[in-house]
Structure formats: C-alpha cells, structure tokens
Assembly symmetry: C2
Homo-oligomer: 303 residues x 2
Amino acid sequence: MSVLDAHLDMRDRLLAAGLLYPTGVDGVYARSEAYERIAAALDATVRRWGAGLGATLLHLPPLLPRTTFDGTDYVRAFPDLMGSVHVFEGSDREHAELVRRVERDEDWSGLLGPAELVLAPALCHFIYPMCSGQVPDGGVLYEAIGSCFRHEPSADPTRLQTFRLHEVVYVGEPARALEHRDRSLTAGVALLEQLGLSISVVPANDPFFGRLGAALAAEQHEEGLKYEGVAPVVPGARPTALLSSNYHRDHFGVPFGIRTADGQTAHSACIGFGTDRIVLALLAEHGLDPERWPSEVGMELFG
Amino acid sequence: MSVLDAHLDMRDRLLAAGLLYPTGVDGVYARSEAYERIAAALDATVRRWGAGLGATLLHLPPLLPRTTFDGTDYVRAFPDLMGSVHVFEGSDREHAELVRRVERDEDWSGLLGPAELVLAPALCHFIYPMCSGQVPDGGVLYEAIGSCFRHEPSADPTRLQTFRLHEVVYVGEPARALEHRDRSLTAGVALLEQLGLSISVVPANDPFFGRLGAALAAEQHEEGLKYEGVAPVVPGARPTALLSSNYHRDHFGVPFGIRTADGQTAHSACIGFGTDRIVLALLAEHGLDPERWPSEVGMELFG
C-alpha cells in the first residue's frame, strides 16, 4: 500500500466510524461528539499537569493580530503555511462589482484588503506581547488552548489545516527556559504513555520555507532547539509528531521587548500538545470505539 | 454616559476581573479558565435539550469551504462581514519580494491568492452540503458547536469579531421548519430564563449590506422570518441579542439541491445561541465572580 493509500484508508475508517465528517476540503473536518469528548478529556488531563506547575490558562481565539504576526517574522520563515484574513470595506458600487466578478468567476481578490488579523499559526504568539516589558523574577508560565491554521492540504487525517493545540509556555531567564523545554518534554511524554501510547523522542526542525529555510532547519536540528514526541498513528506511514518542545532563545524576547527581572532579554520555551493528533493516535492505538478502550486508559482520561 | 463609554466601561470591568484578556484588536480577546467554564457548562445545557430532540451534534472548524460559502450567496448579502483566507503559493523569488514589501510596509496582498477556505460566518452553512439530495421522511436535525467570524470591530464586548455559536438546525418539510423556528425559540428562551436571565422576544432582521440590503432587511422583518431573544447586558446600551431563531424558507434548499422525502425543495430553520454573549449576559446579571452566583443558577449550569 502506498503512503497516500495508507492515509486515505485511515481517513476512510474515521469517516465510516462517524468520528469525522468531511467538509469537501482536505484537512478540514467536522468532529463527532465522541471525538470531542476525548479531546476535552485530554485538555483536562494536560491542564491538571499545567495547573500543578502554576501556569495561567488562556483560551485563545483562532485569529491573531497582524501586528503580533509581523513581530514573529512568520512570513519570512513559513510564508506557505500562513492564512491572511482579507475583508471588503467598499461602497455599494464596489460591492456590485464584487458580486459581478464572483458570479463570473473572475478575479475579485483585488477588491478585498488585508484585515488587522491573520489565522493564528501557533498559540504562544499571543503570549509574547502580553509579556512586553519586564517579567517577574523567575519568569512567567502560561498555558494556552486554541485552534491554529497551517495551509497544508493533505489526505493524511493527522495533517489538518485547522487543528487544536494545547501549549505551556515559559518566558523568562535563559536557564529556566531550557529547563522548561527539557522537563516539559519528559512530563509530556510520560503523560501520553500513561494513555497507552508508545512515544519516541527525536530531534526535529520546523518546516522553514525555501532555499534559505533549509539552512535554518539544519541549524535548528543541529543545535537541538526542537524535539518531538512521535508515535505510529497511520499504519504504513511515518510516525506522527504528537507533541513538540521548543527552545526559542531570544527569538520572541527581542521583537516583543521582553526583559528578565535582571534586565536581560528574556528567552522562551514552549511545549505544544497536538490535541487532534493525540486523539487520532488514541483512536488508532485503542480502537475507533472509545467505549471499548482498555479500562485503565478510560479511567486515566475520563475518570 | 455615552454608549461608547458604556461599552468601554463594561469591557474594562471584564478585563480588570481577569475574565477577558486584550489582544490589541477590538472584538478579539483571550478568555480565562473561569469564563470558559461557564461557556462549557452552557454548551452542555443546550446539548441536553438538543439531544432530547434527537439532534446529531457536530463540532465544527472555524473555516468553511469557499464552495459552500459561494453557495450561500453570503458575499451578496453581507460582504462587509466576511473574512476571506488568502495564502502564499509562490517561489523563493516571490517570497523574497513578499518579505521585502512587508518590511517596507508596501502593499504585498497581490502576492497572495484566495485559499479554498473562508472564515465561517455561521455554523448552519456547514450542514446544508451534508444534506444535498433527499433527506429522510420527517427531515433531519443537526446541532453544531463552533467558532464564527464577522468583521465588525467594536469596543462593545458583546460584539466580537470571533465568537462561538451553538446552533440547532432543521432541514426538511416547510411546515416542520416553521415549527422548529417557533418551538426552539420558546425552548431557548425558557432555557435562558432558567439561568436567571430576563429575555424579550423581538422580530429582527439580519444586517444586510447597502441600499439593496435595506429592502431585504425590511422584507425579512415584515414577514417575521427572524426573531431574537434579547436581554440587557451592557448598562446604558441597547439590549443584546443572545439567541436568534430563523426560518430560511428554501434559501439553502435550492442552492444545495436538498429535497424532502416527497421530492419538494427542502426548507430549513435554525436557532443559534450566542455562546459568548450569553456568558457575558450571565456575568452582567449575576456578577463577575461565578463562585458567588445564586446557587440555583450554579446548580442549573454546573450541576
């Protein structure tokens, strides 16, 4: 079976089981009540860990201010993944022209302009402007739940265009940022293994764009800035990254003007749980009917 | 106090109480754990009602396929509210040009093109393509939870650009669609009054755009196609619509080719609960600390 066939087969089984519903666009699905019950239980499980660390939880909107987006330099690194929100602010006359062009399938995009918002590519980006200025001694810890977007249509049901993340973000001293990257990775892997998943930790890199991106990816990989916890989800395809743990150095501290208590530029680190991917991994591992999962997994998740 | 001051005062109190966090864009906020606990309990309360009706619940993504969006004719009726997702699919060379223009604050939007997705303006739009063809005798009932977008930046904390809806949608025979519009309105109002809110039902219209829109709005209003349940939320401002109940006649049945069991074009009706607005109404009515709400409201919501 080819990898494409493996992806299509897994997707077909999820659709046939009524866990996902197609919308007509690859990587964009409606989710069933049973699916969502797993996602909510997973969020609660991660939250118990985050609350124990003292993290402040924020529920985030799917849209990020464009000024924040520009500050993260995302358009340089991942232009092909972004989603820019464009809106119409014209008159009656321009509206008539817009409708005319839409109906004739002519190019109408010039009649719209960029809004003050983009689709959020990651949750931690919301956090940095909130930390501008000086953070308290010891730094700050935020937890974030929300929906992100990356434009990468795929038949692979684990590669969604719109998907939920659950992140825990540290901003403060460099040594503590590194410590957060490492401890949260260990804790995150343990949390997923408690749910019956077999996780391998591998050095990783972000999918930087283009020729310049290849060099950035190699550097990130070699310097060990990013690790992923991966597990087999789609039989016959490569393992899927279920979580990633990232040390950003001063990549966000510099543009957002964040300083530590002793006046240095703050460093940051973030662990991100891929909520939808973990739900799919649990379904792949324990079967498509959560009612029939091993009782210890059910107890761990649903209490 | 002016209406703007009333909106700003209410927003300031929500921010000061740590229920909302600013992102820098009007109508786009992060939400606290306490806020979200109310929203989740409200969804569960509405779901108990919907499940009793036999509705199939779908959790929907924030992005709607553009083909569906085009089918709803939204761009004719509400062009000023839509959010179109634009993406970059260029080469290394075009990427260099994109980065150059972004850095110099020049117009870069021509380097992006429309994606196959728009921001979802309403949840029921996802349902109609799923019903294409013939629906079973008696019609179908779907319930939908998800996040919608309307581009209307405002200091009014009840007028969000990105907000959650909880809808119950009927598709089938005209008489049953009308019945759904009326019965669900009565049930929805009763549900909110159980939570201690005082709801007034008023005939309403959608905010159709422009000169042509004024006529459409008047027609909708006069024919009694849309009712809203409104309540005072912001002291000193007009009441806020917390739910709306809508009879669409064949507005969606025609473009999506939906037929009843006896071969007629299907009609549809939809009740939409404005999840975030109801949370804000509860906070306004019972106080900003949910721990100190009247015990009967707490019992009703949190069990």
